[in-house]
């Protein structure tokens, strides 16, 4: 990573930029399955700006959370306090997620490939890993069942956007269909990757292509930071800088103590 590949931001931090761009991508979406961290902020910002009707679902079974303080985990006590509903795990994983009720799932991972499969299991060999990561959790289910998946990456590097995953934890639906055409798939997989350099968007064939760079970032910076030969979208836009109408609620109401906006 060179200095030139950092976005040239005036008046906002990289975390704020990632959150604002992610929130914009939620336009028109309704039911969102989001973990803790920047996705939580992105959902809250979308609710505060263009998508007041977004319904957020947590892996712990909470829907319609109204936490009295910013939650620290996806199953934190304030998520339960004042929530509209807490479902059992069978209803959450079976009926809500596999049942096809989720429009957008947010996922992370140590590695992503050009078709949007993710690795959150190991770096190195499975049996003798260099680094043992947490594993799937619900990620494989989100990938298999959400209508589409967004990925937010704080650091766009060739070791996280890779040609070949060390381990495929959450296979893209494309990859699932190729592996076993008799297993029905539901969603489109990863449609959007928001990184600190720009935005990748799935083309019609599912390949992640560069559709936008953040202000001050060159296309060449992004391709150099990507572990596969990155295709460009027909038009590569430059991200509109965050507006005051976006930054104000984020800073003043959503994460005023900057728990995740570090």
């Amino acid at each position: 990573m060179t200095a030139t590949s950092e976005p040239n931001l005036t008046g906002c931090t990289p975390s704020e930029l990632l959150t604002v761009v992610s929130a914009r991508c939620l336009r028109g979406r309704r039911r969102v399955f989001a973990g803790i961290g920047l996705p939580t902020l992105a959902v809250a910002l979308a609710q505060a700006t263009t998508e007041p009707g977004i319904e957020q679902v947590y892996e712990s079974g909470v829907t319609g959370a109204h936490p009295p303080r910013l939650p620290q985990t996806i199953a934190d006590a304030p998520l339960a306090t004042g929530a509209e509903c807490i479902l059992g795990m069978h209803a959450l994983f079976g009926y809500v997620l596999q049942g096809g009720r989720i429009d957008v799932g947010f996922l992370g991972g140590a590695q992503i490939d050009r078709w949007g499969s993710l690795n959150s299991t190991v770096i190195g060999d499975y049996a003798q890993p260099t680094v043992r990561l947490p594993g799937s959790g619900g990620a494989a289910e989100v990938m298999a069942n959400a209508a589409e998946v967004f990925v937010v990456l704080r650091r766009h590097t060739p070791t996280s956007l890779v040609e070949t995953l060390d381990f495929c934890t959450s296979p893209a639906p494309l990859r699932a269909r190729r592996a076993n055409p008799n297993v029905g798939t539901t969603g489109r997989g990863v449609t959007t990757v928001v990184t600190n350099l720009g935005v990748l968007t799935a083309a019609d064939d599912g390949e992640l292509t560069l559709s936008a760079v953040h202000p001050g970032v060159e296309v060449a910076d992004v391709t150099a930071a990507t572990g596969w030969p990155l295709r460009l979208a027909p038009e590569v836009a430059v991200t509109e800088p965050p507006t005051r109408a976006e930054l104000e609620p984020l800073r003043e109401r959503i994460d005023p103590t900057r728990v995740y906006l570090r």
Binding site: E55, R69, G94
Partner: protein
């Protein structure tokens, strides 16, 4: 803010139930959506496939009114107080018209709801082997486990396919305007069918303030994301019961076989209690003030629990 899903019964049925639809009206003795069934009759819906684990009086009425051409069920009876004669006439003699039936055991039909809710191609159950139902219902099949039996051999169980009703109609004690439904007492298969259905109408005794619902999120049996319309219809489950609101009208249940046995009496009952009344309020007015006095529960309040978290 979530949008309000409040609707009148008339509008909810008109908007969500089309002729030819598959409509599940659930509730296990408790919380039967009777007023919604009456509205289906009143709006003269046709060619419905009606679904219910335990068809009882309201299904006898739907069949008598000619609303349904098919019934999917697992136990049809008026508890221990007699037969549902309109359903029996239709099945035994095609009188006045045939009623196609598709029959399961309880767990089989529940499994269809669960498979539907879970987007599974089938649900496995350990019933049916050796019985006569699989020969009568091609939806009851066997599936081979990919894991060996304890003796090392092949293990099979039965399986049922997913059911996706076009509409599920459920009754509950209360909901907020966004459709977070809270029910207590005997729960039946309402959560499963609500998630299995393409559209869900929740009929409730009362629309509650957001604060009431949010004070007890584990009480929410169906979240708003699975509910399309909320209808406030007090006493809409009569003659069945709503725990803590009114008890079962056993006298009505006992009176039904005599009405149901006589097609003329049944037609007349439908005219008097459904067709000639504009809505459920008129039905309640016709029952008269004080009718529910004998069904009034002796209060038995739950002990509050604390959902607090630290600041």
């Amino acid at each position: 803010m979530a949008r309000s899903k409040l609707a009148t019964m008339r509008d909810a049925i008109a908007e969500h139930v089309n002729d030819g639809d598959t409509v599940a009206l659930e509730g296990f003795t408790h919380l039967i959506p009777v007023a919604a069934g009456h509205e289906l009759i009143r709006q003269r819906r046709q060619r419905l496939t009606i679904v219910r684990m335990t068809p009882d009086i309201v299904f006898d009425q739907l069949v008598a009114a000619g609303v349904a051409t098919k019934m999917i069920f697992s136990f049809t009876g008026n508890s221990s107080v007699g037969s549902l004669h309109a359903i029996r006439r239709a099945i035994e003699h095609g009188d006045p018209r045939p009623l196609e039936i598709e029959e399961y055991s309880h767990y089989g039909l529940l499994g269809r709801y669960i498979a539907g809710a879970s987007h599974l191609p089938f649900y496995p159950v350990r019933s049916y082997a050796g019985g006569d139902l699989p020969a009568r219902n091609p939806n009851i099949r066997t599936v081979t486990s990919p894991f060996p039996a304890a003796n090392g051999g092949t293990e099979e169980v039965y399986a049922v396919p997913p059911l996706h009703p076009d509409v599920a109609i459920v009754h509950a004690q209360r909901a907020d305007r966004a459709g977070n439904v809270q029910a207590w007492g005997i729960l039946g298969p309402q959560q499963e069918v609500a998630f299995a259905a393409r559209r869900t109408v929740a009929v409730v005794e009362e629309v509650a303030d957001d604060e009431v619902i949010r004070s007890d999120p584990n009480r929410t049996t169906i979240p708003g994301l699975a509910v399309d319309a909320v209808v406030e219809c007090p006493r809409g489950a009569h003659p069945s019961f709503v725990q803590g609101y009114y008890d079962r009208d056993n006298e009505f249940y006992r009176s039904w076989p005599d009405i149901s046995r006589d097609p003329d009496a049944l037609r007349e009952w439908l005219r008097e209690w459904v067709y000639d009344l504009p809505d459920h309020d008129a039905y309640l007015a016709k029952l008269g003030p004080g009718y529910f006095d004998r069904l009034r529960p002796v209060p038995a309040m739950s002990t509050p629990v604390d959902y607090g978290s630290a600041l």
